[in-house]
Every structure is written in C-alpha cells, then in structure tokens.
C-alpha cells in the first residue's frame, strides 16, 4: 500500500470524495488547494488509483503532467499529491448510501459500518463496462465471453490469459489496447468487429494497437451468434446495413475460444440515484453547472461518472475543477451563478458542463453524434471555431473565454457542428 491507513474516522469532514480513481484523487487535491481542511477520499478497492493500475501501457499524462507516463506511473503521481496534501484515504470501503444532507453511510472492511457528514461531497465513482446482456448477443452462454477490462485485469494484474484465440466485439479503446496486449502475450487476436461504420476508439489506438500488429478491423460488422456449450467454440459475424440489421447471407463463422467485449462504458450512478440527482439521459451522468456542481447544492461530480472521457488527463483537469469548487463551497466562497444554458444542436450529442457563466473562462467538453470533416463548431452566433474533423470517439474540448460572451444577453446558447 502506498497510502497510509486511516486509523480513526472522524464523524465530520469538510469534503468527502467517493471513488479514488484519477477523478477522485484530483478532486481531493483540488479541494485541498482551496483550503478544505479535513478531506476523506474513499475507495472500495484495497488501494487507491482505480483502473490506472491495470493500464500498464503508456500514453497518459501528456496534457496533465507534461510528459508521457504509464497508467501506474500516472496513479503514483496523483497519489503522491494526495498524500503530500495530507488527505485521509480510506480504502476497502464501500459507500453504501448517501442522503441529500450529505451524510454518507460507509461499509468498510476495517471500520465496519460508519456514518460521516460532509460539508461537500464529490462523486467520482467512474464507470462500468457494458456487458453481453446490454446488447443481447444471441447464442449459447459459454464461459469465455468477458469484458475487455476484466481481461485486462487478468492479464496485467494476475498474469493469466483469458484465452488463446480471441475475437473482439466493439472498437472501444480498452478493446484496442487489449488487442495489442494479448498479441504481445502470444494470444491470437483474430479481429475486431465494430457494428458502426466508424471506429469507437481513438485513432492513435487504431494505428498503434491494430495496424502496427496487422489485426484486422471490420467496420459495419457484428457478432450475431456465439457457440459453445461449456467454453466458447466459435462465433458468427455478419455485416450490417445502414439500419444496423445483419445481412445473414454474408455471415461467416470464426473458430475462437474467447469473445472480448469493448462496447462502451456506463457511468456508475447508483449513488446519484439514491439522492435523485438530475441525470442527463444522453450522458447517463449528473447534470452539472460550470463548477461541476450537480442539481443538489454541495454535491459535485467529475470524471467518468459525469460523462465518458477518452483521456485520463481531461478527467484530472475536470476533477481538479470540481474539487476546487467543493473546497470553495466549504470555505464559503460562492462563484456567481451560471447564466447561460448550453443546448446541444446539430450533430452534438451533449455538452458538459450543462451551464456556463459569463464572468470567467470555461472548458466545454462535447461529443458529436457522427463523424464530419472540415466543419465548424458554432456557439450560437457569438463564437465559432473551425476544425479539420470530428469523431464520436474523440471528445472535443473548447475553451470559452469571457470575451466571447461579453455581448451575449440571452439565457441559452445553441451548439452546432456544421459542414463548412
């Protein structure tokens, strides 16, 4: 363990952060920066750091730390900031319940069931992977169908392989990373199949994880059948039409013993639902204002629990902001209220935060619905930016300077991505 154990739990903290992955760690550090004194960072695993420990590949930290790091290196940097900040880290603990008055009920291996009151709460529970049930792949139910993240845990943390002949369904980043990882382990990766006409992972992962290793990527293709009574014996894949309906006349069988699923992440908002936070049906995460505060005052949220990020660096940056706002909240500093609502328009799936204020600079994160080349991102008629291309898989972030909004007097701003 890197972090020291919390011996004594206080009944009251200034800021309690639920989840000690990259989001939670940055939020705790942000709260400390703004003068919150007693900060408790909680995680259900035995060590803080979240999923970073199993991400042993490089490619992290360029934006946030200014150098390229592996996942564990990134986690260690964050954890050092946490311990240097004197933040209490409580691992092996599950946040069981939360009430709107910010009382948290904890279930802990070392402390039993405890309640703590928080001046402010930051929700940073991250996400879970979508499973076979979510997309109802027909066929038998053998062992050997698992999410890419679980496979990553087996390979990188436990030194075990999920199988020897692998088909990957979905082109999410974890699946692409695992295609390369398994190939390096001597596993045969037979192909990545993506139902959409475009890849769902970052372009750099397509190049570095698939192209460099000659792993075929089949777009507009999906798995329509899984065979095997006990262990996976094979799958059938088929191309799909524009309505995503499989064309069975062009289906073919592939013999394999494993199917990895990399079909998306779902924000883990079970706690948010306990206090009826307002959720955005598109992101499945809380609706947040420009300080990452949710629909309940004093409850903040950041990272993948709000919307799915593709780079951990942006998680850290967004979460630092949330933590600072939580710190401000408990030290009595309240920023001016937001006065502009962002409305996703043409080819915009969502924008986070959901509202802005005209008095300061903001970073707006957004995702498009479909790929587009040579386009313009328009914020009403006050501001626009030209981009070479946009992809649903790549989050767009735009810095909004107060000067853009100086002469804007409406209360909502429509965001469109349009062809030039």
């Amino acid at each position: 363990m890197i972090t020291p154990e919390v011996r004594q739990l206080a009944p009251r903290y200034d800021v309690v952060v639920s989840g000690a992955g990259p989001a939670g760690m940055a939020a705790a550090v942000g709260a400390r920066e703004r003068g919150a004194e007693r900060i408790l960072l909680i995680d259900r695993e035995r060590e803080a750091g979240g999923i970073l420990w199993q991400c042993i590949h490089h490619g992290f930290g360029l934006h946030h730390f200014g150098e390229e790091l592996t996942g564990p290196e990134y986690a260690e940097r964050c954890l050092r900031q946490v311990t240097d900040g004197g933040i209490d880290v409580l691992t092996d603990t599950y946040v069981y319940d939360i009430s709107p008055d910010r009382t948290l009920t904890l279930m802990s291996g070392s402390h039993g069931m405890r309640q703590v009151r928080a001046g402010a709460v930051v929700l940073a529970m991250g996400a879970r992977e979508r499973t076979r049930g979510a997309i109802r792949i027909p066929g038998e139910r053998p062992a050997g169908v698992l999410t890419a993240g679980l496979a990553q845990k087996f390979v990188n943390m436990m030194g075990l392989l999920p199988g020897r002949r692998v088909v990957i369904l979905g082109s999410g980043d974890i699946g692409l990373i695992m295609a390369r990882r398994l190939t390096l382990e001597g596993v045969e990766v037979l192909g990545v199949f993506e139902i959409m006409p475009y890849a769902n992972g970052l372009n750099r992962n397509i190049v570095q994880c698939l192209h460099d290793f000659d792993i075929p990527l089949s777009l507009s293709t999906t798995v329509v059948d899984i065979r095997g009574r006990e262990r996976v014996e094979g799958v059938t894949v088929a191309p799909v039409d524009q309505a995503l309906r499989p064309d069975m006349s062009r289906a073919h069988d592939i013999a394999c013993d494993t199917v990895l699923l990399s079909i998306g992440l779902i924000p883990e908002n079970e706690l948010s639902r306990r206090i009826d936070l307002r959720l955005d049906p598109v992101t499945s995460g809380p609706v947040v204002n420009s300080t990452m505060e949710t629909s309940i005052g004093g409850v903040f949220a950041c990272g993948n629990v709000v919307h799915i990020h593709d780079l951990v660096d942006f998680v850290s940056q967004e979460s630092l902001l949330a933590g600072r706002a939580a710190g401000d909240y408990v030290t009595g500093r309240r920023p001016p209220a937001d006065n502009i609502r962002l409305l996703p328009g043409d080819n915009v799936a969502y924008c986070v935060p959901h509202t802005l204020s005209t008095d300061r600079e903001h970073v707006v994160y957004m995702r498009v619905r479909k790929p587009m080349e040579k386009c313009t991102i328009r914020f009403g008629d006050v501001f626009s930016v030209k981009v070479r291309y946009v992809f649903p898989a790549e989050m767009v972030n735009i810095t909004m300077k107060p000067k853009f909004l100086e002469n804007f007097h409406g209360d909502s701003l429509r965001v469109d991505v349009v062809q030039r």
Binding site: S110, G133, R141, L150
Partner: protein, 479 residues
C-alpha cells in the same frame, strides 16, 4: 454400498424427492450429471409458485399444482430459500377475454383455491400503476408467489445430505443393468451404483433413462423458453407476477418480480430438437419485449442486463408422468414442466407413497432434522443488523459484489456449503448476477474459490466441464 433408492437427476424434483426420503431410515443416493444440482432446467426456471388455478382439471398437473402450492410456506420455514407470496394478476386486454378470467376463477374455486378475485381497471391501477391503460380487467390470485428455483435445489439437497442422503455429481447415468435378484446397477463414469429402487427424475433425459430398463414408451420434447433479466433500477415497477390471458400452448409471456427484486420478462415457448439448445435469439428478444410492453409499457430492452434460455421437459400429452412401471422398483417421474416447480413438494410425497406401494419399507429416521440454519442475506438486512455483523466479522464489511451488495463472508459461506464453480457462487449468493454481470467481482470470487478449494485459478470453471475461465501463459495448460 447397496442403496435402497437411487434418484436419477438433481433438478428440483430429484432434490425434493431426496429430501422427502431423508425422513426415513433409508440409504438414498442422488446421481446428477452436472457438477452441481439444479444446473439443468431448474436453474433457468421462471421461479413462480403458481396460484393453483392454472392447470386443467382431470390432470396430474391440476391435482399437484394446488397440493404443491400449499406446501411451500412450511418448506420455506424449514429451509430458508428466497420465497414470497406476492400474488398474480392475469390481465384481460380486451372485452372478449373476460370469459377467460371467469373460466380460471371457476376452475380455481372448484379446486378450493382461495383468494381469487376479479379486479376492475380502477383497482388494477390503484394496486399496479405501471400496467397498461388498455387493461380491461384482471383476475388476482393471492396464493401465487415467487422463489429462487436454484436456491430451492441447493437448500433441498443440503438438507437431504445432512439427513444422510449421498450426492454424486458429475455422474451421468449411461446405462442401467439388473441383477437376478432385481437389484439395479446404474452405470456412471465413476463406476456402477447398485440400488434396490430407482426414481427416474432425469428431466429432459427421463425418456432415455426409462428406456435403459425398458420402462419407456414416452418421449420428452424440449420446449425452449428465453428469459430476459432487467436492471434492478426497475425494482417495484410491478409487485404481482403479471400474466396475459393464457393460450392452450402456454401461460404466455410474463413480467416476473423475482424474489430479490430484479424484474424478469419471458419466457418464450418454442419446441426445439436438441436437448442442449439453450441459445437465445434476436427473434426471442423481440417477441418477449413486444409482448410485455403491451402489459407494462414502461419496460424496455434498454434495461436488459442478462438473458438466458431453459428447456422444459415436455412429455407426449403434456401431462406429468408419475408412477410405477412394468419394471418393479423403477418409478418414473417425468414430463415435469410447468407447474412442475410449484408441484415439486407434492410430487415428492407422491413418489414416497409410490415407493411404499412398490414394497420399500419406510421407518422414520429418528435423527431427521428438517431445519437448515438460516443463511445471511446481507443486502436484505436492516442497516443496524448489517452494522452488527460487520462489527462481528470484518468479512461482512467487505463487499465482494458491488451491484448486488454481496459480502465476502457470504461468498465464503457459499463455498463452504458446496459451491465449486463461479455459477455455484452466483446462484447461491447473487454475486455476479447484477448489472455489471461479474465485470468487477469475477476475479475476486475466483481468488476465493482458489484459496478455499486449494486449486489454481486455471482450474476454476463457470459451471464445470470445459467451462474454464483463464489459462496460463504457457500453451497446453488450458483445460
């Protein structure tokens, strides 16, 4: 050892018979082909204790459904599996279905079923606001309930074993020989098992087992049912088991609030040729969701977290086949489809009576203990109780499965109670049954299995046989 009775098949029927026979001073063995009991048809059962008014009069089903229904409270009291009488609503969606409701109400009343009531639309929506506005009327049956069918199997066999019944798993019966003195010898991969009496409770394979001794003359036709489990978020959407008006082929596609609160929708009903065909299909999913949306419009495919299929063991003529055969000492208990689970305790008593008639002497077992120690369902306990347990044993405070809030202690207890596989843990504790479908807890359950059973991770399976989970880096070590 020469057994008095060998039971072939460890589904809910075989397990109920084993436990019923354990009241007597008898040497009883149960032979199960899978690695644990309940891993065949019973595991994918809808888990409904039918109210008693469904099966037609003049059939074994009709007789045993109601008789069985009344036995579940006592059984639950002794064995502590998940069971609740939450009631059933059969919905009429058009005026011409009203006579159907009336038919079932009368059929039930004639049999003595209590608590049957026709509800009008207003009453329905007061009790079940999520039901479609198109509903015309409904027949409410207060005696209906739900159980966790796999837990029933595990509890029955645990109780039977504590009272002296032997269990042989991974033991498919490949043939049955008969000695001159009438003793049966059941051939299994582990050797021959001799027994004076045989009960054929082999489910889908009961026709094949019966043919081994020439007591056949019937066929089992697998009728597949696909079921879809929904996210726990929908807990409480409906409280009763929701039925459409049945057709002659099927009770229809239902909305089932399971004992643990997860909604399940299904099953389909399609005859298949292959007794191993447990595939789900795109067509099945469409059929199920289209059907349940007509009854409860708030249900959507988007809430699906898992799907599975099971096979009903349907005999020619559709009724149960229960009784002695031309081969003295060989008793059939076959064709047990819906309402088989409901009827199981009554079927077991029927088999006890038949064995007595066949000449098996039955002395009470003086050491018979009907009760099992109550198991801890941590997630369902009040918070004060959870706090007390976590204080007592820190392993209660460690949550192994976050989605279903299963403690590590419960997973350990399941392993000590006989779970040998991931499915064994899952179906005893619910660990891995929730919305992440084991994405987070699989490795932890595997580590616990590995430590407790003293086996490497590579030897752990999902449900026995070749269902391995992980392999070593070196080629050739996989199962």
């Amino acid at each position: 050892m020469l057994y008095d009775v060998a039971i072939v098949g460890g589904g809910v029927i075989g397990c109920a018979i084993a436990r019923a026979l354990s009241r007597f001073r008898l040497r009883v063995v149960l032979l199960e082909k899978e690695c644990e009991v309940g891993f065949g048809t019973s595991k994918s059962n809808s888990g409904i204790i039918h109210a008693g008014h469904h099966a037609a009069g003049g059939t074994l089903k009709g007789e045993l459904e109601w008789a069985g229904n009344r036995m579940w409270d006592a059984l639950h009291e002794e064995l502590d599996f998940g069971f609740a009488r939450n009631g059933e609503l059969m919905l009429a969606m058009a005026g011409d279905q009203l006579p159907v409701l009336e038919h079932y109400r009368r059929q039930g009343i004639e049999r003595g079923v209590t608590g049957l009531e026709i509800w009008d639309r207003e009453r329905i929506h007061r009790e079940e606001p999520a039901i479609s506005a198109d509903v015309v009327a409904a027949l409410h049956a207060a005696t209906a309930g739900v159980v966790n069918p796999y837990e029933v199997c595990f509890s029955l066999i645990e109780s039977a074993r504590r009272n002296g019944v032997a269990l042989l798993v991974d033991s498919p019966v490949r043939g049955i020989a008969r000695d001159g003195d009438g003793t049966f010898a059941l051939q299994t991969p582990g050797g021959a098992v001799p027994a004076r009496f045989v009960v054929n409770a082999a489910g889908l394979y009961s026709d094949e087992v019966a043919r081994m001794v020439g007591a056949g003359g019937f066929s089992i036709h697998p009728r597949k049912g696909e079921e879809y489990l929904l996210d726990k978020r929908l807990k409480g959407l409906v409280r009763n088991v929701i039925f459409p008006c049945p057709t002659p082929q099927s009770k229809g596609i239902l909305v089932i609030p399971t004992y643990d609160g997860t909604l399940m929708v299904g099953p389909t009903a399609t005859f298949v040729d292959d007794k191993n065909d447990r595939t789900t299909s795109a067509k099945g999913a469409e059929e199920v969701f289209a059907a349940v949306r007509r009854l409860v419009p708030g249900i959507s495919e988007r809430d699906c977290i898992a799907e599975f299929a099971g096979l009903r063991a349907v005999a020619d003529g559709e009724d149960f086949i229960i009784g002695p055969t031309a081969v003295r000492g060989f008793v059939n208990c076959a064709g047990i489809q819906s309402p088989g689970l409901t009827s199981a305790p009554a079927i077991a008593e029927r088999i006890v009576a038949i064995l007595k008639d066949e000449g098996l002497a039955m002395e009470p077992n003086p050491e018979y203990e009907p009760r099992l120690r109550k198991r801890v369902r941590f997630a369902a306990l009040p918070m004060e109780e959870q706090a007390r347990l976590a204080e007592e044993d820190s392993r209660f405070g460690r949550i192994g499965c976050r989605c279903e809030q299963v403690s590590e202690r419960e997973i350990l207890d399941a392993i000590h109670a006989g779970a040998r596989t991931l499915d064994g843990i899952k179906f005893r504790t619910r660990a891995g049954m929730g919305r992440c479908q084991g994405g987070f807890c699989t490795w932890r359950s595997m580590q616990m299995l590995s430590a407790e059973l003293g086996i490497p991770m590579t030897a752990i399976t999902k449900r026995g046989g070749a269902s391995w989970i992980v392999c070593d880096r070196e080629e050739g070590d996989a199962a």
